[in-house]
């Protein structure tokens, strides 16, 4: 291994971007955001605004919506992608699997806003489902603009990477552990619960954290779909753009960022992952 002692130049060459990044991308923004309400409104009113925002029912509802939605998406994504990832790892030949992964990761190629439109085309007022449900004699069913639309849209862009992670983690499982369990008389379900699921635990936590964070901050999809259900990124956007309410937007951003960051932090503590997934 390269020894620090003898790599001083490399060390210094590397330290410069690290330090620059840290200051530019973290220290300045963080302080800027925290202090913005105070600098815009004065200290007293700034602090008051902090209290106001945190106590505001509409904001809290938006926060709750965002949180509940993200949680639901996370749970659903993890279960689905664990099944699919494991399946790809075990029952697909390398050839098939390359293509399947290429196909399954297609949603990664589309911006969230396109996904939002797609949900509208499917479940909007003039959507396919509405037409079909009317044809079959019922009401025009629309689901694009509320919880359901957001839920589907978020899952759509969360699945691909989670699937890829689970496929890789399934590949990396020590097959001898499964064989040991089988030779000891374990049924396939016992192998699944005693060996495979514990083996995928770290991947599940790491993927869940990423999916959660992405869902908490999703904007494009939410922007097109959140007509009936307000989520926090949209609230922040409105405060900033429509009402030029910079102080409130900053406080809400901090709130959203803090919650997400905390989840990432807890997940990182729960895994030994050295930054591979988180």
């Amino acid at each position: 291994m390269l020894q620090p002692r003898r790599l001083q130049y490399v060390h210094i060459a590397l330290l410069t971007p690290v330090a620059t990044l840290f200051v530019a991308f973290w220290l300045i923004p963080a302080f800027n955001l925290i202090l913005l309400p105070l600098s815009r409104l004065g200290v007293a009113e700034g602090l008051a605004r902090y209290a106001q925002v945190v106590g505001n029912a509409r904001y809290l509802e938006a926060l709750f919506n965002t949180f509940a939605l993200s949680l639901g998406v996370t749970l659903c994504t993890i279960v689905l992608s664990a099944c699919v990832g494991f399946y790809l790892s075990r029952f697909c030949s390398a050839r098939h699997r390359g293509w399947l992964l290429a196909v399954l990761t297609l949603p990664l190629s589309f911006p969230g806003v396109i996904i939002g439109f797609y949900i509208i085309l499917l479940g909007g007022r003039q959507g396919v489902i509405a037409d079909l449900s009317e044809l079959s004699g019922g009401e025009r069913i629309t689901f694009a603009y509320g919880f359901m639309g957001l839920f589907l849209g978020y899952i759509y862009f969360s699945l691909p990477r989670a699937i890829a992670s689970f496929a890789a983690a399934s590949d990396a499982l020590d097959k001898a552990l499964e064989e040991a369990a089988i030779t000891l008389g374990a049924s396939r379900w016992q192998v699944l619960f005693d060996v495979i699921i514990p083996g995928l635990r770290e991947t599940a936590i790491a993927s869940a954290a990423i999916v959660f964070a992405t869902a908490m901050g999703a904007f494009g999809t939410a922007f097109t779909l959140s007509a009936k259900l307000e989520v926090l990124p949209i609230t922040i956007y409105n405060e900033f753009t429509n009402y030029a309410n910079f102080a409130t937007a900053a406080i809400l951003s901090l709130l959203l960022g803090a919650i997400t960051w905390l989840v990432l932090l807890v997940a990182r503590r729960m895994t030994d992952a050295k930054g591979a997934l988180l």
Binding site: D174, A176, E179, A181, L184
Partner: protein, 338 residues
């Protein structure tokens, strides 16, 4: 003998991969109840494929029969074959402690907790790990882990114990001591055991009989002495210990007539005379001191190189001229040539 132990008959077991390569050609072998048999050979000889077919972890070709007693288990799934298996890299469950690992085979079979604990205690004592019952497996050394793996495999009283290179991952000296302990334990358990290894010392120390495999074929099955003294093929002769192949020229010079192209002799049977008397003379090119003996490499004048063992006490130097004799009763021919 253990009442759970079963005899095993392998009939026509072969394994051809999808790409047509034959990992194992049609193989037969009979193992008595309670017998310990080693499958011995270099990497890729098919020994692991055979073991895994017996374990049910590999599906052999159609027509293969694997009899446990009178029951053909070839279509029985692995988890219902009632076997125990020990893996090269231990394969202990990392999320369970030592006791839970040993108990696992009993738990999945629905053995009551009290009986389970009693059995776990009994086995941990056998493998001298009672004090480690509640340790995480990650805290154990390699030798300790493999003893846990053995206890775990034995706990559900399997009909046969399958060992897949159980000592390969260990240090030379540790390997030696665990080898003796394993041999002792297997005899205590009285279980039918099949032991895969590439190490002939290990196989000789542990097994009652050895099946020497090469290129998907069992070349000879016998006890260690028969294999060593009456090898059926050059491969077997070479794989267990060392041999000198005396070529036509050398044979002619010592006045031996033979139909075979060459005859064989083990280094410890070649007689070396430091006073330069013997059937042939040669020059010592290298001496390897091995503690209880010395292995000398001797170039016969104008001909081949001979390996010969002399006692540790003998004074012999590189470049010294020595005499060599080849006791006729120790010369042997082989049917097959490599």
């Amino acid at each position: 003998m253990n009442p759970d132990a079963t005899s095993i008959s392998i009939r026509n077991v072969a394994k051809t991969y999808d790409d047509g390569t034959a990992a194992l050609k049609a193989t037969d072998i009979d193992i008595k109840a309670g017998e310990i048999v080693a499958l011995l050979g270099p990497s890729g000889c098919g020994k692991t494929t055979l073991l895994r077919s017996i374990a049910g972890l590999e599906t052999p070709d159609v027509g293969s029969e694997i009899l446990f007693g009178n029951e053909n288990v070839v279509d029985v799934p692995s988890e219902k074959r009632h076997i125990g298996m020990v893996f090269q890299h231990y394969a202990l469950f990392p999320t369970m402690n030592v006791a839970a690992n040993v108990a696992y085979g009993l738990k999945v079979r629905g053995v009551a907790a009290a009986d389970r604990n009693a059995r776990v205690d009994e086995l941990l004592e056998k493998v001298r790990l009672t004090a480690f019952a509640n340790k995480r497996v990650q805290e154990l050394s390699g030798g300790q882990r493999q003893r846990v793996a053995l206890a775990r495999a034995i706990a559900p009283r399997p009909r046969v114990l399958l060992l897949d290179e159980p000592l390969t991952a260990l240090d030379a000296k540790l390997k030696e001591s665990l080898r003796d302990e394993l041999a002792e334990l297997l005899r205590q358990f009285g279980i039918t055991a099949i032991h895969v290894t590439h190490d002939q010392q290990e196989a000789m120390a542990i097994a009652d009989r050895l099946a020497v495999m090469n290129r998907g074929v069992i070349e000879q099955v016998a006890d260690a002495r028969t294999l060593y003294e009456k090898p059926a093929t050059a491969f077997v002769a070479e794989f267990l210990g060392h041999i000198n192949a005396l070529d036509c020229d050398t044979l002619k010079r010592i006045g031996v007539e033979s139909a075979a192209d060459s005859l064989y002799m083990r280094p410890e049977h070649v007689r070396v005379d430091v006073q330069d008397r013997g059937e042939l003379t040669g020059q010592v090119t290298r001496i390897i001191y091995q503690g209880d003996r010395q292995r000398a490499l001797i170039a016969i004048d104008g001909a081949q190189l001979i390996k010969a063992d002399v006692t540790a006490a003998e004074t012999i130097r590189v470049d010294q001229r020595v005499g060599l004799s080849f006791p006729r009763e120790r010369l042997f021919a082989l049917s097959d040539k490599k």
